[in-house]
Symmetry: C2
Subunit: 272 residues, 2 copies
Amino acid sequence: MTKQEIIHQIKLKQSFLCVGLDTDLSKIPTHLLKEKDPVFEFNKQIIDATHDLCVSYKPNLAFYEVYGSKGWESLQKTIEYIPDDIFTIADAKRGDIGNTSSMYAKAFFENLNFDSVTVAPYMGADSVEPFLAFKNKWVILLALTSNKGADDFQFFESVDEKLFEKVLKQSKNWGNDENLMYVVGATRPEMFTEIRKLVPDSFLLVPGVGAQGGELSEVCKYGMNKDCGLLVNSSRGIIYAGNDENFAKKSREEAIKIQKEMAILLNKFKII
Amino acid sequence: MTKQEIIHQIKLKQSFLCVGLDTDLSKIPTHLLKEKDPVFEFNKQIIDATHDLCVSYKPNLAFYEVYGSKGWESLQKTIEYIPDDIFTIADAKRGDIGNTSSMYAKAFFENLNFDSVTVAPYMGADSVEPFLAFKNKWVILLALTSNKGADDFQFFESVDEKLFEKVLKQSKNWGNDENLMYVVGATRPEMFTEIRKLVPDSFLLVPGVGAQGGELSEVCKYGMNKDCGLLVNSSRGIIYAGNDENFAKKSREEAIKIQKEMAILLNKFKII
């Protein structure tokens, strides 16, 4: 999917919501456990209930790998079920030496047909570039993550820059705002101003709103650009909004709340 | 597997060889392609031919994920086939926020019963600690990798330390040399002296000997400690030593060459 198509979908749906499909058998409604593939059945109903309110779905691979080959099948069915006008993110945080990253890229872009994959920067250029070699596909590079552990290394500082700033700068030699996005957590909204100086036109995938405590309005205030430039993720807050036979309806209600808030913000910042 | 058991196996086999099972359908002998599960059949024959010469096997996950759920089944069969006295490494380079890292840990330690998993440090403490919570299991943390891209961030420098040095130091607050190893590439043997000052007693997983150009004798000169403290990986050099019906015999010959060299080095450094 191209950048223009993503922007078009955001304006059309008045939403920049990404729904995280972190589907955990111990958290989904128990009546689904009798289904042949409970993970897919859950995802299917969540997608049916929310696809007109979001522009992206983001399955986190850990939640599928934990069920082995069966989990991989649930993932495959899920990605095939997601409508074509939705931007799909394999939240896999992969990264390896060149020939190995190529295999990961093939797994996610060719075999599963994801639009994008999250990639960890630690191993540098040759761990990221094989993903960028795929046309109309995206790398979403970890820059400043939403968790507490982000403090351990991402703020590691040389004379004039922090590690996450170096990641942002260096990666601009590898790709551009048509094939490279960044993960920037909502839990440090004050950092968005600095980050926007380095990557003014890039899309940012923003986790950490909701359960982790980030504020949507703050993220927009400091992080939105002229094209919106944000995909804001919510996982648990939406998919586990309910826990009985009405769970999909509940998840829709939660997604509507967020979409309405997003429409107001898109208006306020003159995107629509 | 405990550290003492690993050391015992190294002395018993006079080897600190790790064989990387990076099994690629486009590289294995063509007569295997008619098998129901060519990846497992290849691995099985490699394991039969080399298990008395090595102390560890390391499947790289990318090479299994690329075949989707079928690849995951090949991986499961492979890990079940590896003898119990061998230290198994899931070379997955995972790392995510806490609750998600827990799912990855469950996938590799509980469901697949690997002894260890490689983890990327970028997301910090809470991305690593869930793996360390498993008894008798190991994290192998990326420190200084063997690829060219290692230069991009791992040598990023503050006043008094480089990023990979900070990773080594900081991680000692999370685990110890009984549950935490480090990836240190063979392509920069001169760095081992510095690294050994920081983690004198830890095991190091060393890729990059062979195809990537690292020298075994150099690695030992600067990196070996009183317990050996090294697991040196070879993937392509061993598993693709032959490309016809005699491939397993060829891989054994290659493994014998390395094992003999290792026995000499273990003697030289008075480990055995």
